[in-house]
Subunit: 214 residues, 2 copies
DNA sequence: AATCACGCTAATCATCCGATCAGCTATCTG
DNA sequence: CAGATAGCTGATCGGATGATTAGCGTGATT
């Protein structure tokens, strides 16, 4: 089905597996320790390989970072696209609520996403430019279209979409981004399914109106 | 009035001024570039001094970081205490709304606060422990008492206070934390007074109920 | 006036970082 | 079977980082 089946493969299968182990380790460490705080040696150690291998598969530390982040956004894009696909024909308000819920669920299972965004987008720089132009903007524009429709329908108050965007992307993921703090501060584990469910309910209740709280 | 007037001072006045210049530079760079990303040479350069001076005033990089963060939290504590003082006698709901507004205004004028929190509290570590135990917990407990009263009064929906805390601290400051992203992504400058006002209005509207939107 | 502590700097240290290079080994190709 | 190549490692390099040390100048003390 894919091109790699037709063309005789030049890369050995073992390389793909280690590549993905490296990418997973890089994503975790970059998101938790920041780009500068995560060292290539530590990433390599977590992936069970030696440090020069990172420069073999990804020529530079920046390219490793880009590859790890691109994989994460690909997951987000796929999850949202699949969900949207499954919501064809559902009425606008219900579809919007379920799409927002899906986004918060993703933020809970992939806290690395907003950890990296809040890490890189605090300052101007090449990584922020790349993140915004290549990955964040498409999702922002999709969200903006959705919010615009909901405001027109009177479901959301008449607030500029940029504010709605930062209220949702702030209120939804922050508890999961700061999971270690939340555990120490409140004793609650944000990775628990019950807590995730309660948070999704709470955020959607505040966003779409109080009476919606079950 | 202060003790330094009575006791003959041993530190020269010039030292206090440079100390504060160093602290301000450290706060900006730590919050934007993370603890590891900010170098002592860069902090010194921004403060207009040489790098070994940082080790003279603050024995280590960690102590410099602690001093800078402590000063920021002292400002927050003072601002909120002053505001609460001025709200004695005001009815509970109005006082709560104005206190929340004050918090968001502070997040707008001091984005370094939540930049550092989201930087350090993603991972367990000594800096996270110190931040939570010495500075975050007192404010969390104050917020928890406020939220508990508002839930009892029926002003807020019956959601555990931890969720309310992370919804507020996520929805309020994120737009200002990610100001560079917001400018590039939306063309809106979150430091503009009009935008700050609109965001404060929007967040309080979602938090305290739709009908409150002016 | 002599002394001394304070504020600050130039020079330097050990350490760690990302990157490079030569070389090993196993698999694939012809 | 022989050669080539992909996958990976050990050793190492230049550069940057946080910290230390010795020492300078100025202003307060006695």
């Amino acid at each position: 089905m894919t091109a790699t089946d037709a063309v005789p493969r030049v890369t050995r299968p073992s390389a793909d597996a280690t590549r993905e182990r490296v990418l997973a380790a890089a994503l975790d460490l970059f998101s938790e320790l920041s780009f500068d705080g995560a060292t290539t040696r530590e990433i390599a150690a977590r992936a069970g390989v030696t440090q020069p291998l990172l420069n073999y598969h990804f020529s530079t530390k920046d390219e490793l970072w880009q590859a790890a982040v691109a994989g994460l956004f690909a997951e987000l894009t796929e999850v949202l696209a699949t969900r949207e696909e499954g919501l064809r024909g559902v009425d606008q308000l219900t579809a919007a609520k379920l799409l927002v819920r899906e986004f918060i669920y993703f933020s809970a299972s992939h806290p690395q996403l907003h950890r990296i965004i809040t890490q890189e987008c605090k300052t101007d720089g090449p990584r922020m430019d790349w993140l915004v132009d290549c990955h964040i903007r498409p999702h922002y524009e999709q969200a903006a279209r959705l919010f615009t429709r909901l405001v027109s329908a009177g479901v959301l108050p008449d607030v500029p979409v940029a504010h709605l965007y930062y209220i949702l992307t702030g209120a939804g993921p922050t508890m999961f981004v700061l999971a270690p703090e939340c555990r120490r501060l409140t004793g609650i584990d944000p990775q628990s399914p019950d807590v995730i469910e309660a948070h999704v309910d709470a955020v959607t209740a505040f966003l779409f109106g109080r009476q919606e709280l079950s």
